[in-house]
Amino acid sequence: MVTSYLIEKVGYYKVLIGLLLLTVVTFSLPEVVVSKYTFSAQMFIATVKAWLILMYYMHLKGEKTIGWSVLFSLLIVAFFFSIVMIDVNNFQYTDVSHITSPTK
């Protein structure tokens, strides 16, 4: 009983350290790396952090039904994103339209 408590506790701290490290990366990355990729890099790090939290803090590891449900909903969101983005990126009259032109 006590040992399992310790193991789990250590686990929490390990994840914490991982998350802290990633936060530091989040913070310092833009100063170091080429800025064009800042956005993607930031979102990538955030995804890794989210994964850590889901798996360890939220104990998703080993949950079958719940795991699939989460995955299913994420896939749906991903689909929403992709199609709506296809739409904005393919809108034919972006340059002439007031609200979609990049500069005011």
């Binding site: 039904t65 299913f72 909903s73 749906i76 689909f79 929403f80 199609i83 709506v84 296809i86 739409d87 904005v88 990126n89 393919n90 809108f91 034919q92 007031h98 609200i99 979609t100 005011k104």
Partner: protein
């Protein structure tokens, strides 16, 4: 015979003595289902009244009785009530609550108190919607009809500009959405956790499959419209800019977000209705259903594909042409599983013994009307055709055939089918059949001319129209009168039967699913006396008789 659920109940709080309080506080799924039905039914008649007002106004061109603004509020009221207060809670909240737990051998839903809370949340949402109807100008003693005039779609920027009570209506929509989410959540957990031992997913009755697929849509699509409504409210209050073109906001984004929910919502309505169809057809053909697995899986795939096709409402919205093509392509995939279901039902009738009792008549009638609704849906899923037909009466006719001729008809079928289960009494078959005939004829006379008017270019949401469309509107008006007569007739028959109907045993239809194996009729408080072990398929017949039989301890004796 023991006490029925009408005599005793569990309550969310305390042990009230008065019958009234016992109903208000009840956590029993059957009672909650009945209360939903009563409330929905009441609102429903408000919406029907709004519809009739529109039909009267449209009887001939020009202004007849009401002002343009009032007409616009009337169709908004009609749409909002029909969609958010009637058809979306609709079959899940009524029959999902009443029969789904019985069908899987559960004593109640997973979270009975949440179920009670959800019901009251729904009522609260309805009350908020009602408060948005009027503005009271106390100092001048005026009452102004100020219901939103945006259409049930609340398209920005019109909804942001109008000075009617849009915010209250949006809040009501949000609350009703929450109630819908919680219903779905409750059912999902119930179906996952509380099936009787031995009942695998592929041994569940098909109605439960319908509810299951629907629950996923309620859970994962509703939040999107919820947040869209919240964003619209924030936009109206604080001007965050997100849908306001003068700040760079894009009205088309609103349409995306709105239909991301509202398209799946139409499958949310139809899937449990299809479930009812799958119960009725084998029961009245006295034989096992054809293609059980394909029907079950098609429900799941309709729900899944339903998430991917919302853009077919945006064919003329100014969306990019690329997206139009993608959405048109994806939309057709919904028709395949739906078609499979239809053919499976027809095949179930083959070499059966078809009993044309009232529920079966409604079911077969629906096969006709929904086929029209679905096939015309396919017509407008073709981009080129929809560019002409979008926002015309063709679309209106399509979705009334789908929602009224599909969902509501099957709701009626279910009402006749489960009436003896809920009340332990039987209605008068002859009268019920006449009512069906009136409804069926009235419905078609009401809506069919609208396909032609739409094709000719009659736009929807028109207060006034050009004289060449008069004939269609007039035929339609006559249909509406027949239809409403039929409706009133039908309800009279049913309501009278709750008092004077002949008592009937627990299984008047010789049906097979678990809800017909209750110890008494109407069912007792905690459903089956004992939970059965389910090692059989849901629709097992032999020579027209149910195969599975139970003794009073719910042990199989066949």
């Amino acid at each position: 015979m023991g006490k029925s659920y009408f005599d005793e109940t569990h309550c969310a709080i305390g042990h009230p003595k008065s019958t009234f309080m016992q109903w208000m506080l009840t956590v029993d799924h059957k009672r909650i289902g009945i209360m939903y039905a009563v409330v929905m039914f009441t609102f429903f008649f408000v919406a029907v009244a709004a519809a009739l007002t529109m039909r009267f106004e449209l009887f001939s061109p020009g202004q007849q009785y009401i002002e343009a603004q009032t007409f616009n509020q009337a169709f908004t009221l009609h749409g909002v009530i029909m969609i958010f207060m009637f058809i979306i809670p609709g079959i899940p909240a009524v029959f999902g609550n009443i029969v789904m737990p019985l069908m899987i051998g559960a004593k109640d839903v997973s979270f009975p108190r949440l179920n009670w809370f959800t019901f009251w949340l729904y009522i609260f949402g309805c009350i908020v919607a009602l408060t948005s109807l009027f503005n009271f100008n106390i100092s001048e003693g005026e009452v102004l009809f100020k219901f939103a005039d945006t259409g049930w779609t609340f398209y920005a920027p019109y909804s942001l500009n109008t000075d009617t009570n849009v915010i209250t209506t949006l809040v009501a929509g949000f609350i009703l959405g929450m109630a819908s989410i919680l219903t779905g959540l409750n059912f999902l957990v119930t179906i996952h956790r509380l099936r009787a031992p031995g009942m695998e997913f592929f041994k569940m009755p098909l109605f439960v499959w319908g509810i299951y697929a629907t629950a996923w849509i309620q859970l994962l699509a509703t939040p999107v419209v919820g947040i869209t409504l919240v964003l619209a409210i924030l936009e109206k209050y604080f001007g965050i800019g997100i849908f306001d073109p003068s700040k760079g906001g894009d009205p088309v984004l609103f349409q995306h977000l709105f239909w991301i929910y509202s398209h799946p919502a139409v499958y949310l309505m139809i899937l449990p209705a299809f479930g009812i169809m799958s119960e009725i057809i084998p029961a009245f053909s006295r034989r096992e259903i054809f293609g059980y697995r394909t029907i079950a899986l098609s429900s799941a795939s309709i729900a899944g594909i339903g998430y991917l096709v919302w853009g077919h409402h945006l064919y003329t919205s100014g969306m990019s042409d690329t997206a139009k093509v993608i959405f048109s392509f994806l939309t057709f995939f919904v028709a395949i599983p739906t078609g499979i279901k239809f053919y499976d039902w027809i095949a179930t009738m083959y070499k059966g013994k078809i009993i044309l009792a009232t529920p079966m008549l409604w079911a077969l009638g629906t096969i006709i009307t929904f086929a029209v609704g679905g096939l015309t849906g396919v017509t407008i899923a073709m981009v080129g055709a929809d560019i002409h037909l979008q926002d015309t009466y063709y679309t209106i006719a399509h979705f009334h055939y789908a929602m009224l001729g599909g969902v509501v008809f099957l709701l009626f079928a279910g009402m006749h089918y489960w009436f003896p289960l809920v009340f332990g009494k039987m209605y008068n078959e002859t009268h019920a059949k006449i009512a069906f005939a009136l409804n069926f004829i009235g419905f078609n006379v009401l809506w069919f001319p609208m396909f032609i008017a739409g094709y000719m270019g009659m736009p929807r949401r028109y207060f006034d129209y050009l004289p060449e469309f008069q004939i269609y509107h007039q035929i339609s008006f006559i249909g509406a009168l027949i239809f409403v007569t039929g409706l009133i007739y039908m309800f009279t028959v049913l309501i009278r039967a709750t008092k004077n109907g002949k008592p009937c045993g627990p299984n008047p239809w010789n049906a097979t699913t678990l809800e017909w194996h209750l110890p008494s009729s109407p069912p007792p408080l905690e459903n089956h006396t004992k939970v059965p072990y389910v090692d059989f398929r849901p629709y097992e017949y032999h020579h027209g008789q149910p195969v599975v039989k139970f003794d009073e301890n719910m042990r199989r004796i066949d």
